[in-house]
Symmetry: none
Subunit: 252 residues, 4 copies
DNA sequence: CATGAATGAGACTTCATTCAT
DNA sequence: TATGAATGAAGTCTCATTCAT
């Protein structure tokens, strides 16, 4: 009993040391997002993480390095999952798109680290290498993710062909907008913006301009008629509320 | 005798004095946009405007006041023009929408002051009253502008009815995206984004989801306000195929 | 009377601004010498110069730059004078040597800035470029000065020939020693070292080993016999004390 | 049972413990000499000695104490040897002097710890008690060593009498110079200074000004303690030529 | 009106020192 | 004994702001 003190406590401390960078990054995310890079004092980060000023420098060489770590740490989880999600998905591409946006919002958009994009946009001019890194590792990869979905829709005959890059951006824009809004004007706006409702609406708007029109083969205009088959969607919410969607009808 | 030794003509100085605030604001816009609020030194603003450091304080009580002046000065011109533009326009609403977006990009998006929105988003947390002001004076007014266009489309029988707020935002998002992009990742991205091509594409995508299709009468679903936490959607196709979507499951 | 305020005060301030670097360097010399580079706080330099912390940075980009300025400013005056002194001197080389060492001590050794050599020796490892600069601009030039004197002595038949570099250093060493001593152990030693007495003694010791011995032409050994002519020196001090020196006698 | 789990044999550890201070001091000497007191981080000393930061404090109460230990440990060996060397020596005093300087350079000057004198001179102002200690224990003792040699030379009829303190310093100065040079400008100088050649040269120069010349009986002037401020020297040569020297004038 | 020298609060960063393990 | 994570005082440097001229 008095024997074990020799090793276990060292372990606990080691575990602490291993956890520290993560704790500091977590604390830093919130402050960086809330106040911006310059206005965030390292001392505040430290005390938010429950340590003293000097401790930050045991794990990060400088404020800039901490910032980079914050950015690079908030990338990969959601992307990797998203890519796997696409490959495994078996429903319609419309459903896939809707699912993936919802999921993305839950994982990224609604997470505290979503404000990072705001931060990075604001500071991209002051951290060009970081911006370049983020652009390659996140943005372009994210674009490719979306592009794959669009390609899937075209391959399955659901979507008509359209400029991939532009259409991808048309989907990226509302997501970005959402995050920006959440971390800027949202909190002080009169109307509240319900994220998932907005994303659903956007998808609906976009898709009905994207769905292939087999009859005319037109590239741009005329609404996709959906004559190939009839469909009807019933959405049931947790509180029992039902929404029925389908050709020609919308019933709440 | 005690008058002439020290200065020049009072008139020239008066004219100068009147122009000064404008010159300072102009210089400040560029620097604030390029570097952010904190990283912009007042001395740089002064020398960019061709005056000395102390002179800034003759016209603005503090850095914060200068920043507010910068923001408030870069708002109104385009909005007023936009409102007049709508009233005078006589073509289809689709054409109106496309034209107004193009014009907006020329006037605002492509102007050096477009970066202000980026700045404001970044600093909204540190300047809550400024954010509130901007939200009311610019954002909501801009939203109303878009909403008027949508209403015009509906009134003229071109557009079907849809949630006004959400649809407005769906139009606002790409414009915002464009500005963000231009002042952040754009300069370091591999692909160049052609602004007007993008806006055209977005309008095309959105409009053809908005235009009433006389043949089928299909109507986009208007989802209820998204307050419920759990939800589940079952889509039944004409051939009996079912797709169930929900917060945590996807079943084909 | 109320008229002159327009220009003269500006001049006074300008004169102040011009004088500041010099004032700061002066204050810095004393502190650097007394405490060393690291132990000298810039704030102390500032208050010693009667200004505030920030003012130092109006004139020197960093502590290191201030240090370099201090070093580079305490070089040239004495050297230039020394070189002119040699050319103009018309007495014996022995007298020249004695004079120049005395003068050097008055100008450099005894000045507050003499401690700089101590400082530079201590910090040469941390400021290699500064050491190189000082070595070329001061030390080598100083060596050349001494070498010229030795050459003069040889040319005039007073000194025998000897290795120039080594002999030069043999003269440099006591001067250096003196400065080191003054700024290190001197203040806490039991015996006081009278600088001029020491230098006089050293010159006497060295010269009588340097004077050419016409009779033997020996390069190294045997004392110069001074048989060519008899001589006698009477030194009268300010307090009336007399010392008579000459061949065979020493009388106080 | 509760004894064995944590550590190794007590003997080995004890031996280790005994060696530790020495190892730390050795590591510290090099770093202190190379970087100076302030610029040497205790952590670097620790890792140079192969231990962790905290271990230093098991043997030395503070950085200052470590420094003192470093200084006090690098003194005595050579001095004791030197004293024994004198007593046992049987040749001429000139030979003794030359040999002892050579030996001293081998033992002290050329050892890594020779840089300590540089260090101490630099830091004497910050460590007055250390300087006093060093002055008494090393410098004065060293001076006495030299003085004994001079006395030996006089007693054996080799040297004429001269001011002991000043002559001692005249021998100390080149040794000190050598050490300073080695640890400061030497590494960045263009000419290399061959230590032993220099010492040999210095001894030759000095001795031949010290050796009694039986033929002429010339005696070097022994100046009185240099307390008077003003002085004037008139040298009259056998041929009637006069040279007047003084504090501010040189007249031939 | 305009200047720009001066200020000093405040941020980043270092490192001697402590102490739980 | 030994470790090394943690601390926090202290120093360098920046820059918004003031004010004498």
């Amino acid at each position: 009993m008095n024997d074990q003190g020799c090793g276990s406590s060292a372990k606990r401390r080691a575990r602490r040391k291993q956890a520290r960078p993560q704790e500091l990054v977590s604390a830093a995310v919130d402050l960086f997002v809330a106040r911006g890079y310059s206005a965030t004092r390292l001392e505040d980060v430290a005390s938010a993480a429950g340590v003293s000023k000097g401790t930050v420098y045991l794990y990060f060489a400088s404020k800039e390095e901490l910032f980079k770590a914050v950015v690079q740490q908030s990338l990969l989880p959601a992307l990797a999952e998203g890519e796997a999600f696409i490959d495994a998905f078996e429903g319609t591409t419309e459903a896939l798109l809707r699912q993936i946006l919802m999921r993305w919002w839950e994982l990224v958009g609604d997470s505290p680290s979503s404000g990072l994009i705001k931060l990075l946009i604001a500071e991209s001019g002051n951290f060009p290498d970081l911006a370049r890194y983020y652009n390659v590792e996140v943005i372009e990869r994210c674009d490719r993710l979306i592009a794959r979905i669009l390609a899937r829709g075209v391959a399955q005959g659901e979507f008509r062909e359209a400029d991939v890059d532009l259409t991808t951006l048309a989907l990226t824009a509302p997501m970005l907008f959402q995050m920006m809004w959440k971390h800027s004007f949202g909190p002080c706006a009169n109307k509240v913006l319900e994220p998932k409702a907005f994303l659903t609406h956007v998808v609906a708007l976009l898709l009905h301009g994207l769905l292939r029109n087999p009859a005319t083969g037109t590239v741009l205009p005329v609404l996709p008629p959906f004559t190939a088959q009839r469909w009807e969607t019933v959405t049931v919410f947790g509180d029992g509320q039902k929404v029925v969607e389908g050709m020609d009808k919308v019933t709440a």
